[in-house]
Amino acid sequence: MASTCIRQMATLSLKSRVVAAPKGLKVVGLSSPSFTPAVTPSLKQACEPLRSTFQVASKTSVNGRRDKFTVFAQAVTTTPETEAEADTTAEATVPETSDDAPAPAVKSKKLTTRVKHIMEILNKDAVEAANAEKVIPDIRPGDVIQLRIEVPENKRRVSLLRGIVISRRNAGINTTFRIRRVIAGVGVEMVFPLYSPNIKEIKVVDKRKVRRAKLFYLRDKIARMSSC
């Protein structure tokens, strides 16, 4: 029994994709090297030396053709126990092979707590803390916004500022935006940090359709374009 199975294994070529299984052999579709559980104990000892070569060969063939199955005909006695084993192992190893193929992995930034990521982590925490205190709406270039701001030069009196957002510069906690407005015939531009505690309230009054991220062209346009 053992000698016949070894002879049959030897005649089968490893590179062939589909192997015509001789009668009496249970064909188990596997391409991963871990097919030892399917073999019955008596055969295991006999096929030990050959299996090692099989495993080595199978590894290389798997690397060569990832999307195709290499079927190894294996001498497995078709007893009920081994059939069940073989089925489960076949099912167990089938998903493995499909995962081996290069699946497009979803890129996610994992900020592990290492010194390398310390500034990113601190930045993120600061942004989250600022967001928790106050609701900051999403400001985009082209929005006309109204700010309630406490100017330190004005002895902490809250003043109202209005203007069109002409640029937004994202830098974590140092995210700034620039407002432009024509006041009494003179164009005024002001830059504010988005998470500044001096900004008491931001309200988006209007949204203009713009096709740019930075609206610096408004500086050269007529005053009506920047007035709001």
Binding site: P152, E153, N154, I183, V186, M190, P193, Y217, R219, D220
Partner: protein, 167 residues
């Protein structure tokens, strides 16, 4: 490409001499002194007020344009809120100041950005002054256009009260 006549001639020639500059209008204001106007590829060159800078007059004292002679306070560069000595280049016929007079002014609007202590910045489209006397009081009776809060710390309270808009 439309010609932009408001650009100083110097800068236009400089930009033409260099490699074809992109159509994009300026990035943030460059803090370069005006001597390096040719080094900035981008069109807008906003820099300090210094000698020979032409400024608008934002009050009704009679002058229309002045030319800076000296920046007071020891520095070479004038920023928002600084005092300068200027010579009147253009004036209306019957005003308090005449053409050719040497006057003291305070810069109320500067094209160069001025940072505030909370991290914000302010800047205007044009440079403008208000003509003052030696005590710091404006000669004119009306102020046109917005003025910044920086004048408060420099004790130009009269200008702030006269102005219609304080930003």
């Amino acid at each position: 490409m439309a010609t932009r006549s408001h650009l100083p001639r110097l800068l236009r020639n400089a930009s033409q001499a260099l490699s074809p500059s992109p159509l994009s209008h300026s990035a943030s204001a460059s803090a370069s002194s005006s001597s390096s106007a040719s080094s900035t590829l981008l069109q807008q060159c906003r820099s300090f007020v210094q000698m020979r800078t032409r400024l608008e007059v934002a009050d009704n004292s009679g002058a229309k344009r002045v030319s800076c002679i000296k920046v007071l306070g020891g520095g070479k560069h004038g920023k928002l809120g600084d005092l300068i000595i200027a010579s009147v280049k253009d004036a209306v016929p019957r005003g308090k100041v005449k053409k050719g007079e040497v006057v003291n002014c305070v810069i109320v609007r500067a094209a160069m950005h001025r940072q505030r202590s909370d991290g914000s910045e302010i800047r205007f489209d044009k440079n403008a002054v208000v003509i003052v006397n030696k005590q710091g009081e404006p000669i004119g009776t009306r102020i046109f256009g917005p003025v910044p809060h920086e004048l408060r710390s420099k004790n130009f309270m009269k200008i702030l009260t006269l102005a219609d808009h304080v930003t």
